[in-house]
């Protein structure tokens, strides 16, 4: 599937090198800072569960208590396990309860106490990581037993009722109707909660809260569907917002299969502090790498705020950056659902050929990544008939350019959250296109030097120019100045900044140690 655009390999290599150069300072930043959510994720791996009577998770209460006594920069693991030893208890959740009640003081241990605390912390976290490993092995077994979808792209469908018990039958019905991947979209606003809600939830706004229990319930339901349908139905949720590391951890513990996880989305679209985002993102990607989870990046979002033709190269740049950050965190190519979207104004002449060029460019730049192909949203108007036609063309580009994951477009986008019938019509549209033209990518070879080749090479050229410019300043400056998606996001502003700290000399994080290579 490569070689259709005659991209210059030297330019492609140069683009990757520039992405590395732009990304490296951000990685250094991520390696030298921690956040409250990273520390809470460590405690979740160490076995802290549940929430207080007000619904505030014990991991939050415990991290807050430790930070109040010792600050954030040492990491909480050593202080927590030191306190456990001093209190003579083994249950970390019980310690969290005591800490919240103010009956335990935390100190940063030194000397022998520090060595002992670190050892105990590492042992507890390793048990959590082993659970993630078991979940991954379980997925491998189930995929072997039931099989992957017969066709590519995999058909990805969103469910979003707000009520997990309503979502379950809808997800199962969608799987029966042909969906290979179910994404449970989150309640609006969850990305800005600095904690992960607990338990099964039945109320949400334009989505369902992501909780460990909701993950478990939906995964169990889709396991039933997988058995019934004879193919492994995958489950997606969101590792984004202020709790990225914890979401990734819970996804690993509950065998979710894909997670939305973009390197810059939270910064640009949720005004989350850039440093907080990059630190959280690196940890969450390390967990995803370990858990065998496929990430979905969010480049489609740039095109909903900026022009899809003028700004096409920002998608390419972001894909290259996401690839760099993902590889650095240990993710393999097969785990990179790099995003892009069909968002060109349909009134633009040759819009379909432009879409083909852009989609093929992504395919050829990232030949071993599954790629996540996102449907039109910006130019969906409420004219559902035209919308259905646009979705058909979107599906056609998806199959002609060999996309790995196809998010099913709804002709009622921008009208209502999808009805049962909307979903059925949309899936019928996908089935028709994949059935009628599923192998068209074999025949589709753009004319040498023709419109599509020229356009793709031009976008690559513009991406290189932008990467050269970023290289000269730094990614954080570029983000501050509004290079991506028009939004300007300075590094000293944004939500969640107060939950970031630079590592002290004795910073200790057993999860990072284990995820970065030493055996669990």
């Amino acid at each position: 599937m490569t070689g259709k655009l005659e991209l210059d390999p030297a330019l492609v290599a140069r683009a990757r090198e520039l992405a590395r150069r732009a990304g490296q300072p951000v990685v250094d930043l991520a390696r030298s800072h921690t956040t409250v959510s990273v520390e809470r994720a460590v405690l979740r791996l160490a076995g802290v569960t549940g929430a207080d009577p007000d619904g505030i998770p014990w991991v939050n209460r415990l991290v807050d208590a430790v930070v109040a006594d010792t600050g954030l920069g040492h990491g909480v693991a050593a202080a927590v396990f030191d306190a456990l030893a001093r209190e003579g208890i083994t249950d970390v959740t019980l310690l969290a309860q005591k800490g919240a009640a103010g009956s335990v003081r935390f100190t940063q241990p030194t000397g022998k106490a520090a060595t002992a605390a670190r050892k105990a912390a590492r042992k507890a976290v390793a048990a959590g990581v082993r659970q993630v490993d078991r979940r991954r092995a379980e997925r491998d077994r189930l995929v072997k037993r039931y099989g992957d979808p017969k066709q590519r792209p995999w058909i990805y469908l969103i469910v979003a009722t707000g009520d997990i018990y309503e979502d379950i039958p809808q997800a199962q019905a969608a799987a029966r109707a042909g969906a290979d991947v179910i994404a449970v979209i989150r309640s609006t606003g969850q990305s800005l909660l600095d904690y992960v809600p607990e338990g099964a939830t039945r109320e949400g706004f334009a989505g369902t809260y992501a909780t460990q229990e909701n993950f478990r319930l939906m995964r169990a339901a889709l396991d039933e569907s997988s058995k019934e349908l004879g193919r492994y139905v995958r489950l997606t949720n969101y590792a984004s917002g202020l709790c990225m590391p914890e979401m990734a951890t819970l996804a690993g513990l509950e065998r979710l299969d894909m997670m939305l996880n973009d390197s810059m989305y939270g910064i640009l679209f949720r005004d989350i502090n850039p440093i907080r985002t990059f630190v959280d993102q690196r940890f969450s990607r390390q967990v995803h790498a370990r858990a065998g989870i496929i990430i979905n990046t969010g480049e489609d979002n740039y095109l909903t705020t900026a022009d899809a033709v003028d700004e096409a190269h920002t998608v390419t740049v972001s894909q290259l950056l996401n690839e760099y950050f993902a590889h650095e965190a240990g993710l393999a190519d097969w785990q990179l659902g790099l995003g892009h979207a069909f968002e060109i104004n349909p009134d633009v002449p040759e819009s379909f050929r432009l879409e083909l060029a852009h989609a093929l460019l992504a395919r050829e730049l990232f030949p071993d990544a599954p790629l996540k192909w996102m449907p039109p949203t910006k130019h969906m108007t409420g004219d559902v008939f035209r919308g259905n036609l646009l979705d058909g063309f979107f599906n056609l580009v998806g199959t002609m350019t060999g996309q790995g994951i196809l998010l099913v477009g709804m002709m009622t986008e921008a009208v209502v959250t999808p009805w049962l019938s909307d979903r059925d019509i949309a899936l019928q549209n996908v089935r028709y296109v994949l059935g009628a033209a599923g192998g068209l990518h074999e025949d589709f070879v753009p004319a040498p030097g023709g419109f599509i080749q020229q356009r793709a090479n031009r976008v690559l050229g513009e991406a290189l120019e932008l990467l050269e410019r970023i290289g000269d300043q730094s990614l954080l400056t570029a983000i501050a100045e509004g290079t991506f998606g028009i939004m300007k996001r300075p590094a000293d502003r944004g939500k969640g900044l107060d939950g970031v700290a630079r590592h002290e000399g004795d910073y200790y994080n057993p999860a990072t140690d284990i995820l970065e290579g030493q055996q669990a």
Binding site: G162, R176, T188, D271, L420, I486
Partner: protein
């Protein structure tokens, strides 16, 4: 704002839907019933169509979708009439100005920059509406309010709390506050708007309050009094319309305040 009775006093004009012949009254509807597909389900669909005033109803498509649901498409003649004289809509009651004209009026009559503060409030994270109106980028080739030299725009972005918005309006000495609401689940857009207007009424005396404007695809433009705002803009509104309204309400005719 005023609700205009189109053609009030004029002679009655009755129309019917148009299929391919004047007066044929033909409509097309589609819907799902929570019943498995069989003859009885099709009969139920026709019965529903009849109750909707479609008679005769032609059931042209019936398809089982999922467990125990059937999707229908019905064509038929609707026996309802529409009296154009009785239609109530909000018509634009201010002149549409170009960016240049807006700038000129503000500069000459207000003699300072007109301050606009915009935000998505509540948990709504969909900034597409407020961005289309405020960002330089604009929408459909029309530049947003940031492009207007005589407007000072502060876009607070997504998920802004009402107290934050009130405070920002105070700091920026806002002449107008623009709020965009997309999410409508459980009427969130209406609750949020009421909360916002109440907060401004509480925080500032009537004469000092900025003009309150909400926009979003699912608002009913006639609900301004009920929601306590000065103006509601529905789907398809352009930055130029908003700018023209600001000039009209704040400068050329100051009586638009509730």
């Amino acid at each position: 704002m005023s609700v205009v009775e189109t053609g009030a006093g004029a002679e009655k004009k009755i129309v019917r839907p148009y299929g391919d012949t004047t007066g044929d009254g033909m409509v097309q509807v589609s819907f799902t019933l929570p019943v498995p597909h069989d003859k009885r389900a099709e009969g139920a669909a026709v019965q529903l169509a009849n109750k909707m005033g479609i008679d005769p109803a032609m059931l042209v498509h019936a398809k089982p979708i999922g467990d125990g649901f059937t999707f229908f498409v019905v064509y038929g003649r609707v026996n309802h009439l529409v009296d154009l004289a009785a239609v109530q809509v909000v018509e634009r009651d201010f002149p549409l100005l170009s960016a240049k004209e807006v700038n000129a009026v503000v500069k000459q009559k207000l003699r300072r920059k007109l301050s606009v503060v915009g935000a998505c409030i509540g948990t709504d994270a969909h900034t597409v509406g407020i961005d289309a109106i405020l960002n330089v980028k604009g929408i459909a080739g029309e530049k947003g309010l940031e492009y207007y030299r005589e407007l000072k725009v502060t876009n607070l972005g997504a998920q802004v709390s009402v107290p934050e918005l009130v405070e920002a309006a105070r700091v920026e000495k806002a002449d107008a506050v623009l709020v965009s609401q997309v999410v409508t689940q459980r009427d969130a857009h209406l609750h949020n708007t009421r909360e916002m207007s109440a907060a401004f009424r509480e925080a500032m005396p009537a004469g000092k309050r900025p003009l309150l404007i909400v926009g979003g695809p699912r608002f009913d433009e006639t609900m301004t009094d009920e929601l306590g705002v000065d103006r509601i803009f529905g789907r398809g509104t352009t930055p130029g319309e908003v700018a023209s309204y600001l000039v009209h309400a704040l400068i050329t005719s100051k009586k638009a305040r509730a």
